[in-house]
């Protein structure tokens, strides 16, 4: 007897088949289970030794006579075993190990073979394609699952399709075309090609001109050179005026049907030369005030606009127009009012974007000081008639000047006062400056050298930070964001390609069995669904006027020490990296040639970086660039990579009209430190991830939500009859971290899905607060490891929300969250429990005098449940003067060990208004129910315990989650994987139904009643743990499995 972690049966029939077992003792054993007649046990015939960890997966390739094994020791081994099964018996007498592949960063869970190639995948989330030749090089790395790694792997017969199943529940398919593996890449290995820059001096600025090859460079000698078709050519030489300094920017401009490039170069004496690349000698020299031109930016708009940062925080602006005259094409530059930057040391512009608004424009700019600035021009600037006339006069003069050598005449526009920002977020991106701003689908995105992306909205004259996204640790220098197209476009291509590939390939992918249950069928469904979606999106993209309020998917572009990196914040995956030496250098990323308007994360891996290093212009062809033949497709979105600790239901949204389609909106929090907003359509079992909130630095253990009336925008909602939800969401967990968001969930008619808008309201960490308070001489931190275990909203008003938290350091804490000022403050803490507090629940009621009372229950690891009266918090005018209770009203030992869950409800009927029901579930598997009368004497609550019933072994494992459908129906769950429904009767608790759930490690639960007309009302239970499952409680209160993630 021995424990097996994996096994494989090979052979045409039982009598002659060979069984390969991967044992707990790191061996592969081969024997013929059907070989021996009678009772005698068959003996192990071969033992393959070599692994130093248990064996998780086995695969045999008949044609090559290879047996492959994947192990806990992070290696994959391939053995030459000969023919197994049938006449071959247990194969060759003494099998040998042909290859040992070490390349995974964690355990290898699966291995598959196809002729000439070994595929392996594991806990590190990577699927590696190993080349047989040359002793095992990784030919491809396929990544794309969220944390938790890859758990299953399937390869089509020819090796052309690879499918991976993640611990996150996601399924991805990868197209690997023939031939990729055969290319000899040794010459290309991580190569950086020197583009052989041949001009004088040092290249300082590099820009891409679109195509894969065209690169423009500006040198410190005041020269602009173009690299094309592997050769360098001088485009323009600025002469002595432009030497020993260099700023340049280039932009495409449309003229009639052609697109041409215009270039601007600035010098130390306020000169800015503007010229068309194909016509460099007929440029215009502009004057940007006095002194050094710090920075130049071309900004797109209805007309291309040039911004030049001069001295004293003045940003000079010109709009450009291409005109045609007798000598060919000419440039006409029209001076605009300058922008004034806030006073600071490094006073120049680093980024700008412009949006048309009414008759004018809106400008969101970023400066070197890290500030974000909002400018308005046109309509709202109250320009006087005189000014306008002046400018028009001036512009007349400007015409034709480009032909002359003359300097630009001082324009009358100069006399006009510059425009000051209407709103400034001073230094939001830190002292190192803003690096980019852009606009995408109605939202603004800024990046900075503080390692942050800020998502902004403009509300009248104010810039509002909606969310802050932090890059990975060590990636403190962000340069910009790149938006990703939805994977739908990928899927669309699959369908197209599938048509071309014909039936053969299609059959092979469905046939290959795909360990993942039912993928074959699912995949087909997804194809159809996505095709539908693609159609609808097609319409949407053309309708640019529509305002989509959801955030787009993007990757962060920046530097991580000496590397240039494209980082996908959602999958936490480094898509692309080039060792270029780090920041402070000019670079240009060139998209792979087949990229559409918005690239997919996989295609971004295949791009190319042009950068300047030690006076040379370098081009990276990162190795992945040859992998233009690999495409990743998401067949099913992943949820959380690891266990889900908590779940809550926010409500439902529907398309409205005649359609009965209703989506239930759920929020989950998990060990992977993220919070996900999901929409589930119980009828079809479709799950859609609406948003992922990745602000927590540790596990998310608890969630709470407060509903708000959604603002009706111009009555459009009522017209189309769609519903929407507005919610304040709180999440809390490890490292004593609390986050608050405002979520707006509605129906997007263009995509026909629910969408979610996220605004980050506030974030708070207890240790940061301690840090600030800490006495400088004390070196030991108080306790940075405190975890928030549970949370409850105690009270809410328009201005503030009060939440209590159960804390692992033994405290119950109360915080106020002020919505407007976005402040979180600790107002009360009490260490009464002296042990880890596991659960809290609150209850508020109105006494006959109409006075509101607030009660709080808390449960700890010793099984005690305490009741607190927090009513006075409502009366106190200021939080500072409120001290909170120093002891609970009462405390009862209810469980033998931890109180995992607390639920409070009150009796129906007005008579029993003062009787509440407190249900609790414990680590001891017990379910308990107390009825407590809340008597009032002089406005003070005196609780009286009326009855206490228990079900000692409600579950055979810890009762981890509990919910109340109404005051008479409770639902509980546990890692014993049972969901139990309990009825509260006059004499105790009665088990109404028990059902087995597929959710292992059940940790959270939510129950809700869904009103509908007559029979249509339904009761739902959702359980989360390893994955989540929605159950419907049917009439007889039997939970019925509905759908599983």
């Amino acid at each position: 007897m021995c424990l097996l972690y994996s096994a494989l049966l090979i052979g045409p029939n039982w009598e002659t088949s060979v069984l390969v077992g991967g044992t707990v003792f790191n061996q592969l054993v081969l024997w013929r289970p059907g070989g021996s007649k009678g009772d005698s046990q068959s003996q192990v015939e071969r033992r393959l030794l070599g692994h130093s960890g248990v064996i998780f997966s086995l695969c045999y390739l008949q044609s090559a006579r290879w047996l492959a094994s994947a192990s806990d020791d992070r290696s994959v081994r391939v053995w030459n075993v000969g023919v197994l099964g049938a006449d071959g018996g247990c194969g060759v007498e003494s099998p040998t190990c042909l290859r040992v592949f070490y390349g995974h960063q964690a355990r290898v869970f699966c291995v598959r073979l196809s002729p000439g190639c070994v595929f392996s995948a594991g806990e590190d989330g990577a699927c590696l394609l190993w080349e047989w030749e040359g002793n095992g090089r990784v030919g491809q790395t396929l990544k794309g699952h969220r944390s938790g790694g890859i758990r299953s792997l399937a390869v089509s017969r020819g090796g052309g399709w690879v499918a991976t199943g993640g611990a996150d529940g996601g399924i991805r398919a990868w197209r690997v075309l023939e031939g990729t593996r055969l290319v000899d890449q040794s010459k290309e290995a991580d190569c950086q090609i020197d583009l052989g820059f041949s001009g004088r001096g040092c290249p300082k600025v590099v820009r891409s001109l679109g195509g894969r090859d065209a690169v423009l460079v500006c040198t410190d000698q005041g020269e602009v050179l173009l690299h094309q078709d592997e050769s360098w050519q001088t485009v323009w030489n600025g002469g002595p005026e432009f030497q020993s300094y260099c700023v340049m920017d280039v932009a495409p401009v449309q003229f009639q049907d052609a697109s041409l490039w215009v270039c601007a170069v600035g010098n130390l004496n306020s000169g800015v030369q503007v010229f068309a690349l194909h016509h460099p000698n007929s440029g215009v020299l502009l004057q940007a005030g006095q002194g050094k031109v710090h920075a130049l930016q071309w900004v797109q708009g209805d007309r291309l606009c040039l911004l030049a940062s001069g001295a004293e925080g003045l940003v000079y602006r010109w709009t450009l127009e291409v005109i045609e005259d007798k000598t060919g094409l000419g440039l006409r530059l029209e001076k605009q009012k300058s922008f004034l930057l806030p006073t600071c040391a490094k006073r120049w512009l680093t980024a700008a974007v412009r949006l048309p608004r009414g008759n004018g424009s809106l400008w969101v700019c970023g400066d070197r000081r890290g500030s974000l600035l909002l400018y308005r021009e046109g309509e709202l600037c109250e320009e006087s008639e005189v000014d306008r006339e002046n400018r028009e006069g001036g512009s007349k003069e400007e015409q034709g000047v480009w032909e002359d050598e003359n300097r630009w005449p001082e324009s009358t526009v100069n006399d006009i006062a510059p425009i000051s920002p209407v709103n400034t977020l001073f230094g939001v991106h830190g002292k190192q400056g803003v690096t980019s701003v852009c606009e995408h689908q109605g939202l603004f995105y800024s990046t900075g050298r503080d390692g942050c992306v800020r998502v902004l909205t403009v509300d009248r004259n104010t810039l509002k930070v909606r969310r802050v996204h932090r890059a990975s640790k060590g990636m403190e220098w962000l340069e910009k964001v790149m938006f990703l197209g939805s994977e739908i476009s990928d899927m669309y291509e699959v369908i197209e390609r599938r048509k071309q590939d014909g039936e053969e390939e299609e059959r092979s992918i469905t046939d290959s069995g795909l360990e993942i249950e039912g993928v074959g069928q699912k995949k087909r469904d997804t194809f159809n669904e996505e095709a539908e979606l693609k159609k609808t999106i097609g319409i949407n993209l053309e309708d640019s006027g529509s305002e989509r309020f959801a955030e787009a998917r993007f990757v962060m572009v920046g530097f991580h020490s000496i590397q240039f990196v494209l980082w996908d914040p959602l999958t936490r995956d480094k898509l692309f990296s080039v060792t270029c030496g780090g920041g402070h250098r000019s670079w240009a990323y060139i998209f792979p040639s087949h990229t559409q308007a918005l690239p997919s994360s996989h295609s971004l891996r295949e791009g190319m970086l042009i950068f300047i290093q030690k006076g040379a212009v370098m081009s990276s062809r990162s190795l992945t660039s040859k992998a233009t033949h690999v495409r990743g497709h998401t067949l099913k979105d992943g949820l959380h990579g690891r266990g889900l600790s908590c779940i809550c239901h926010l409500g439902s949204v529907s398309r409205g009209g005649l359609s009965s389609e209703e989506w239930e909106v759920l929020v989950t929090g998990g060990e992977d430190t993220t919070v996900s907003v999901l929409a589930i359509e119980p009828g079809q079992g479709t799950v859609k991830v609406l948003a992922v909130l990745a602000d927590h630095i540790s596990n998310v253990r608890t969630l709470a939500a407060v509903q708000r009336e959604p603002r009706q925008k111009g009555g459009s909602n009522s017209r189309t009859n769609t519903s929407s939800l507005s919610t304040f969401l709180f999440s809390a967990g490890g490292r004593a971290e609390l986050q608050c968001y405002q979520l707006l969930i509605g129906w997007n008619e263009q995509v026909n899905w629910p969408v979610c808008q996220v605004t980050q309201v506030a974030g708070h960490r207890l240790d940061e607060q301690w840090e600030r308070r800490r006495n400088r001489h004390k070196t030991v931190k108080m306790d940075p490891e405190t975890r928030y275990m549970s949370m409850a909203v105690v009270h809410e008003s328009i201005e503030e929300i009060l939440v209590t938290l159960a804390c692992s350091d033994g405290a119950v804490r109360l915080f106020t969250v002020r919505v407007e000022s976005r402040k979180v403050e600790l107002v009360w803490e009490n260490f009464y429990h002296q042990r880890c507090v596991l659960s809290v629940a609150s209850y508020s009621f109105e006494d006959p005098q109409g006075k509101q009372h607030v009660l709080l229950f808390s449960g700890a690891t010793d099984g005690a449940v305490a009741l607190w009266d927090l009513t006075t918090v409502l009366d106190s005018k200021s939080m500072d003067s409120w001290h909170g209770p120093s002891a609970p009203c009462f405390s009862l030992p209810v469980h033998q060990s931890g109180v995992n869950a607390l639920v409070i409800s009150n009796e129906v009927g007005p008579m029993d208004k003062d009787i509440i029901t407190v249900a609790s579930g414990g680590d001891d598997g017990q379910l308990s129910l107390m009825k407590i009368r809340m008597q009032l004497r002089q406005e003070v609550v005196f609780p009286e315990l009326l009855s206490h019933w228990t079900v000692p072994l409600a579950h055979s494992a810890p009762l981890t989650a509990l919910g109340a459908l109404d005051c008479a129906t409770l639902v509980s769950t546990s890692p014993d994987q049972r969901v139990c429904v309990w009825r509260v009767c006059h004499d105790g608790l009665q088990n109404k139904a028990t059902v087995f759930s597929h959710t292992a490690d059940a940790a959270g639960l939510w129950v809700w009643h869904k009103k509908g007309s007559g029979l249509q009302s339904r009761d739902y239970v959702v359980v989360c743990g390893q994955g989540l499952q929605v159950l419907e409680l049917t009439n007889g209160k039997d939970p019925e499995r509905n759908e599983k993630e």
Binding site: V138, R787, R835, Q896, Q977
Partner: protein, 321 residues
């Protein structure tokens, strides 16, 4: 992660180091004894899956203290791994799923049966939940099997279980052999973990039962019907939380400086972690030898690499408690 961060997170880990236990699980056995008086009158004890040896330490200290002559106390510790020697403890490096191991234990007791068998075994945790739970159950059955060979009638058996979806099935199997089975959770075991211990008292095998290693009688099929058993037919095993309520709370986070008079000092672990299976892979990674898209995998003949001196510290993160 700083050296003291585990100290911050886990009070029993710290206490174990302060009191000289090789692992924090020592407290679990101590607390189980507090509740069930397990060591009373015990002279011959077996510690299955003993490495690094904190339970053997407890047995050694407790049994030898309560018996006048230490000579009479015999403790046998079995593990796949070797462990540092302990006074009065005989080690067998072996597999508890093998009948030869049972025979060897009996030999050490000179043919006499044991009074107590304890098992804190845990397989390598895969992170694949159902696999872990299943393998833990299989290990428990192996421990029970070996116990039927070595335990005297009336003797006690204590073993670690995972309270998962099939735990009821395990209870039913244990109840065949013991008149009293309790599921106990020491306070030093975390509330959040599904780990618990079965305390099986008064060994009384069914009439005519002949211990047999190769054909486990107990391997019931895990069919759904059995799992669905609810109501009156359900096997009920009482639950008991044990250990003094005033003891430290394993879920609570305590400040590093527990006592304002005593300054916190970091102590190194009593028993450094054992060789993890991925040692080789880590060695390759450290030396940048893992295969990447541009580098071939390190070749065969890895024996040449020196692995002896490296200690991977992340081994501790794989502990199951």
């Amino acid at each position: 992660m700083g050296r003291s961060s585990k100290d911050k997170r886990d009070i029993y880990y710290r206490l174990a180091k302060e009191e000289g236990w090789r692992a924090r699980s020592a407290f679990k056995l101590l607390q189980l004894d507090e509740e069930f008086n397990l060591f009373k009158g015990v002279r011959r004890a077996v510690d299955l899956c003993a490495a690094p040896g904190s339970w053997s330490q407890v047995l050694s200290r407790k049994l030898r203290a309560s018996n006048e002559s230490c000579e009479e106390v015999k403790i046998v510790a079995v593990d796949l791994q070797a462990m540092a020697p302990l006074p009065g403890v005989t080690q067998i490096q072996g597999d508890i799923t093998k009948v030869s191991t049972a025979q060897e234990i009996i030999r050490h007791f000179e043919g006499q049966a044991a009074d107590l068998v304890v098992c804190d075994g845990a397989p390598d945790v895969t992170g694949l939940h159902d696999v872990d739970e299943y393998i833990q159950a299989q290990l428990l059955l192996a421990a029970l099997n070996i116990t039927t060979h070595v335990l005297k009638p009336g003797g006690n058996f204590v073993a670690k279980i995972f309270r998962g979806k099939d735990v009821t099935l395990l209870y039913s199997q244990l109840k065949i052999f013991f008149s009293m089975v309790t599921c106990a959770k020491p306070r030093s075991s975390r509330n959040s973990s599904i780990e618990a211990f079965v305390v099986c008292q008064n060994y009384s095998p069914p009439d005519g039962y002949i211990p047999n290693m190769s054909n486990p009688l107990l391997d019931h099929s895990y069919d759904v019907d059995f799992n669905q058993l609810e109501g009156p037919n359900r096997i009920i095993v009482p639950f008991l939380a044990c250990g003094d309520l005033s003891a430290f709370d394993s879920d609570r986070t305590y400040p590093l400086q527990l006592d304002s008079n005593k300054e916190y000092k970091y102590l190194p672990p009593t028993q450094p972690p054992i060789q993890p299976p991925y040692q080789q892979a880590c060695h390759l990674r450290k030396n940048n030898l893992l295969a990447k898209e541009d580098l071939p995998s390190a070749l065969l003949g890895l024996g040449a690499l020196n692995l002896g001196t490296e200690q991977e510290t992340d081994a501790s993160t794989r502990e199951t408690h």
